[in-house]
Each structure stands twice: as C-alpha cells, then as structure tokens.
Symmetry: C2
Subunit: 347 residues, 2 copies
C-alpha cells in the first residue's frame, strides 16, 4: 500500500499487522483493531497489550520485536483514547515499534507525522508512517462523467448506523459467491481495513466528489466496488460530505443503513431522524444526477438494541415499507441483499 501521506515517498506499508491495543479501557476503545481482526483475520498475526489493557481480541500476545521476527510488517495503532490524542505511552510504543523494524499506521486525530520524536525514529530506521486521516493530495475536482464499472454505496439515516460494516459484509458475501467485489474506504477505520482509501470528511470541500471518483475508478472486470458511505443527507452537520460522496460514487445501487432505536441524529439531541421512505427517496433523487439508473437494492438494519424477535419484526416491517430485503448484517448476514443486488442490477 502506498504512503498517501507523502506522495514523494514511494515507501510501502501493509500486512501482516501487529494490532496495538495499548492501555485500552474497553471494547469501544479498540473498535479499529476489532474491525481489522474481524474483516482481515489473515492479516493480523498478533496483538500488543499493556498490563492495564482490559479488552482482548484473542490473538497471540507479542511485543514489537517478536512481531517483527514473526514476519509483521506494520504495527496498527488500533486503540483510541478520549479525543483521539496520542499519549506519551503511545508515542513511546510507536518509537519502540519503529526501532524494532516495523512500519506504523494509525487513525488517530493527532498524527504520527506531527510528532517529531516519532518522525525521527521513522527516519532513523527507514520506516513508513501512515496516518489514515491524512487526505490524499492533488485529487482532481469531480466531473460526474459516466465511468465504466459497477458501484454500490451504503447510505444512512444518520452517522454510525453500520455503513462501513454493511459494505464489508457485502464484500465478503459476494467474494464467497466468487464475484469480484472490493470494499472502497472513505473513513479512517475503513482505510486501515482496506489498506487504502480517502478520509472523505477531511478533504477540502471542493474535492469531495472528486475524492469519491478517485477511490472508485474505471473498472472493466464486471465486478463491484462497494463504497463505504459517510454521514447522512439529513444530518445538518455533515450532509455536504454525504451529497458529494453520493455524486462522486455514481452508484448503480444503494443500500440504506439504519438503527431503529436511535432517538435523534447523532450529536444533535433536538434533531429527529428522517422518515425511512423520505430518506431513501432523497438519496435516489440526488444520485440520479450522476447515474440516472441508480436503484435501491436493500436495507441494512443495526438491531443490536433490539431483542431477537423484535429485530425480526423490525426487518419485516421496514422491508415491507420499502419493498426491499431488510437484514441485520451482523446477525442475519446479507445474502438477501446480494440476491436483490444481482437481480435488480442484472445487466
């Protein structure tokens, strides 16, 4: 994988990974590492935990030197503390990893490249630093011109409703059927899972659709790009990102993601969620600007807040309302949605 942070540097980083959990306090703090272990188990050869680390991924415990001798290429800092800051402990451990000969990748708000001690250690050891929140430079402005390839975008009623998980679940299910399919990442966790991508909320506003075009270029093998959605057309903070991504993705297919127990838009206690039908229709209308043939093919429901029977009932009800297959990708898989995709976008 190329080092997006510095276009002048042709250095590469990538799997096998040592997953760094540090002093994580709970499961939420290791969300990124868990995503990697779940979606790319073959890439993850071990975990590094400090003595006070509470959660575990159940991987082999190893320090940086051991990981390097076992063949690890890159240590991924897959644990976040409050604010995405880099503690003195994380800095020391990143330097230890570089001194052991590993590259280091992270998705923290504070960047590896902005810490002079880490930069010095990388230089000293000829290693690569990768900050997943660094946008790629020199992305062209989007054009909306039709391009070859088949693309699916996950869209949402809100932020954090399962858009990344759904796109990755579709990738796995389609590959298991022997279909060429590739997850395309637009957020920092997704970028670490995919090994490439653009943190689309961090690009300059004029280049949102250009970035979406850039991550899903012309494709001629008949396969699908499964593009990770961001935000929601109905989130007052981030809808611009969602619209630019929708136009740039030029999707043939949309999957609507939703969390049925969500009381209000994430972070905005006085902003209600959009009606499902209205939300899906607004996404289809906007998507038609760059792909008039776009179709909705399914609904992905995050039912973690519901009992099993309630979850099944919610899927039935929403599926009937929108006349689409509706599944929880975590507990029910996405086979019905893949069937629908292949049937509705057959030609």
């Amino acid at each position: 994988m190329s080092n997006a942070a510095d276009a002048a540097l042709p250095a590469h980083w990538g799997p096998p990974y040592l997953l760094y959990l540090g002093s994580a306090a709970d499961d939420l703090a290791i969300k990124t590492a868990r995503g990697l272990a779940h979606w790319r188990p073959d890439w993850c050869i071990g975990q590094y935990r400090r003595p006070d680390c509470k959660p575990t991924l159940g991987l082999f415990e190893m320090n940086m030197t051991r990981a390097r001798s076992e063949g690890a290429d890159t240590m991924v800092i897959g644990a976040a503390n409050a604010g995405g800051l880099m503690s003195a402990e994380i800095v020391a451990d990143a330097i230890a990893a570089l001194d052991a000969g590993l590259n280091v990748a992270a998705g923290l708000h504070q960047k590896l490249r902005e810490n002079p001690d880490i930069v010095a250690a990388a230089r000293r050891n000829g290693r690569v630093l990768f900050d997943a929140r660094d946008p790629i430079r020199n992305i062209p402005v989007g054009t909306g011109r039709p391009r070859a390839g088949r693309r699916l975008l996950t869209v949402g009623t809100d932020c954090s409703v399962g858009k990344m998980y759904t796109a990755l679940a579709l990738e796995r299910a389609m590959r298991q059927r022997g279909l060429p399919a590739d997850f395309r990442a637009t957020g920092q966790t997704g970028i670490l899972v995919a090994g490439s991508g653009v943190p689309i909320d961090a690009v300059v506003a004029d280049f949102i659709s250009g970035a979406a075009e850039w991550i899903s270029p012309v494709r001629l093998d008949g396969g699908w790009d499964l593009i990770e959605g961001q935000g929601s057309l109905f989130h007052p903070s981030y809808a611009g990102v969602s619209l630019g991504l929708l136009h740039g993705a030029q999707p043939d297919a949309l999957v609507l993601c939703h969390e049925p127990t969500r009381q209000h838009m994430r972070g905005l206690s006085d902003c209600p969620l959009p009606e499902l039908k209205l939300c899906l229709e607004a996404n289809l209308v906007a998507a038609r600007l760059t792909n008039p043939a776009v179709k909705a093919v399914g609904v992905a429901l995050n039912t973690s807040g519901l009992a099993r029977a309630e979850a099944a009932a919610a899927c039935r009800q929403i599926g009937d309302l929108l006349e689409l297959p509706c599944q929880d990708p975590v507990t029910m898989g996405v086979e019905d949605i893949v069937d629908s995709l292949l049937a509705r976008c057959a030609n």
Copy 2:
C-alpha cells in the same frame, strides 16, 4: 478586519484601499478590483496600474507611497492572471507596498504567505498579509440548531450565475430603504468586498455547514444577513459545498440565480442545467432540514447574453413559471425582490 490567516496575530487590515491592477490585460482580469470599486466606492481611494495595463476603474492613479500618504491602509491585489499565479512583477509590487507602509490583501490561488520575500517584507515593516482563500481555522462543526436572526441565501442553477452580485445588490437596496442588512461572503472576491468571511469551498469537508453558521451568527437587531451562495445542488463537482452551505445558512429566504443562455453546467460540457422549478424545489426541500419556514422570494436573472426585449420577456416568463418576482439585478435592480422578501417574510 482580523487577519484570518494567522489566529495568533491580532493585526488588522482594511480600507481605505489602493486597488492594484498591475499589468491586467482585460476587464475580466480585474473582476475582483471592479467588484470592490463598484460595491465599496467609499473604501477605494486610488488605483495602481503598470504602464502596460489595459483596463481602468477610473479611480485616481497613484503609486504605493502616494497612496499611503493619502491615507490608504491596504493594497488589494485585485487583478488575476492565468491560474491565479503571482508573477515576479506582482511579488515586487507587493513588497514595494509593504515597504511603503501598506498592508497587502489578495485573492490569488498562490498565497502571499507562501512567498518568503513577501513574508520577510511584511515582518520588516510590521504589516499584515491577508489571503482571502485561506480558510479560518478552528471553525466548529455545524449543529443546525435554530438561531436568532433573519437570513437570505442566494442559490443557483449553476456556478457563476450572479449569486454574489445579487446578495450585494440586495444589501445596497435594503440599506437604501433604511433596513439593517449585511452581505456575508463565502468566496474570495466577496471576502475582499466584505472585509471578512470564509472561502467556503476551501474548508475541510466536515466543516462546511459549521463555516456557514460561523459567518452568519445570532443576530438580534431584526436585520438581515444576505449570504453569498456557492455552486449549485445540481453541479456534480460542487454540490456538497452548496448543500452544506444551505444547511448552515439556515435561510428564511432563498433567491434563485440563473443565466438563461447557459448551455451546460460550467466546466462540464455534457451536463445539462437543471429545470428551474425542480432546482428551486430541491433547494427548498433541503433547506427545510434546518429551517422549515424557508420561502423562495425571488429570481435573479443574469441577462447579459440577451437583447433588452428578450431579457424582459425572459423575466416575465420565468417569473410566471415560478410565481416569483424575476429581475436582472444589473439592469433592473432588485426592488421587486426586496418587496417580495419583506411581504413573504413579514413576521
């Protein structure tokens, strides 16, 4: 006006202005300077032209030293050459202005602050550099929460159809009626005319709506903020900017801007313009997310490509179609649109 380029520096720049035309080849090249001379005549005490400069604004000719002794505070580089680059000539003249004791402001792609000789001259003379394309730092994320004040946003079928001109014409007409009204700038020319603002296409994508909220904060005097629109919801390259601006502006009133002879979306020869009714309705629907009471109050037509009789007919036809007053702000003024605004947004 505060120096947005460097939050640590409390220095100020502002009128009176010396307008720098340099070696401009034609009227298009001095668009920014002409905007300043047109909208802020009281601020502009003179112009500086090189011997080979073709266009003129008809202001007093003066060099930097003379301008300073006449009371000028800032030289505004109001002329662009191809690509917005800074020629050796512009660099030398900027340094001469700083050495004469003037501050220097510019809206070029290449930034004053990125030229070490200009920066050294500013330091040496204790002067301020202002790059209108520099986004303000540390803007918060938008919230969409209702805020006091009355706001009008100009929206467009396309880029470059008169959104800035219309907002400024409304400001002038409303002030002439004794109404408190302030233009709020979102692009570099507008920022130089207003003396403040945010180049909204240059902020990081997550902060588009936050930037729009920031430039039009709570207002309690019953007056209007007249916000300069950008792009179009129907432009595949920039719609994300337009949507974030629409949500953050939280407008009570929209004025739709259009150029009736435009053959295709600017820069995209295969992308047609949206239907006017569809375009206005899409803007209203999206605006309702943060202001359910939003109303369309008028249409501003750029009829520079039409003969006089055709222009009048086009205004009648479009006004009838959308059931709104329709005027060319340049040739017909905006009085009907102001009447409509005051009638439709009376309470």
